[in-house]
Symmetry: C2
DNA sequence: TTTAAAATGCAACAATGTTGCAAATAATTT
DNA sequence: AAATTATTTGCAACATTGTTGCATTTTAAA
């Protein structure tokens, strides 16, 4: 939805609408290089700033696995300026390289005595449905 | 142990010994900036190459949380050229910023039908023992 | 429609990471 | 222990990635 921009109280510009449409088009997470290629009128600086705003507003979230180049995906849950609230894991296929979010029935809990855990980031690496045939 | 370099079959040089000693000195993960400051004779290029070799040989592992600058820590388990085999989680304290590895009693398992999960990376974000007092 | 606020894009810069190659050092062989 | 081979180091140069100030343009609000 393009109204997302209105809901998040950020200016609705052609550039942002285009970037948002690209993220919506993909069902998986994508790196900036893919966004670049999809953009009709691409500008590095504006893209960096757009990504930063989208991250801050909880429109997209960043996925970085083992220090590799970051991928970005639309937030499905109610994320906002105050933080991201995801209950999904990130899966990376070592065969086709795809990265995406997966909902799991029972999201793990970890208890560390004397610590306070506010957020759990879980990344699974393996073979996706297609590559595991 | 400095013999680690011999065991991993890589040349034992003063630079590598120094970098290894720095990692051993810290009980937590550290970014390259800290390694730099600790090094007597620092050279950016050699450091990058040393880190790369240490990663490949399974001497250290990389921790990247939410696209922030990577931190590095000694591998405690049997990691080698064929891969890293960790059964610990990575904890980041939002108060003091420290990042370190934590052993957990029961490392979570995630089952995704039709997928094959080879590795699970778990990052917990919250307050560490000191900051949670 | 006018005004105020915000976004864009250029130029310039800063930080991070890489590569070829010659010199230096470490490991191996004799 | 000395000579040979293999590897590492560090310089120069470059490539990539990300940031900032500022004037112009565009969006949102009055």
């Amino acid at each position: 939805m393009i109204n997302l921009l209105k809901n998040k109280k950020i200016s609705k510009t052609p550039f942002r609408k285009e970037v948002l449409a690209i993220f919506n088009k993909y069902n998986n997470a994508i790196p900036l290089s893919v966004v670049e290629k999809e953009l009709k009128a691409f500008n590095r600086i504006t893209l960096y700033r757009t990504i930063k705003v989208f991250l801050e507003k909880g429109i997209i979230h960043e996925i970085t696995i083992n220090g590799e180049v970051s991928n970005y995906a639309i937030c499905k849950e109610e994320c906002d300026t105050l933080g991201h609230h995801h209950q999904h894991i990130h899966f990376k296929c070592t065969s086709c390289g795809i990265i995406f979010c997966v909902e799991v029935d029972k999201f793990p809990t970890i208890i560390l005595p004397k610590y306070k855990i506010n957020q759990l980031e879980i990344q699974a690496i393996g073979l996706c449905q297609n590559c595991n045939l």
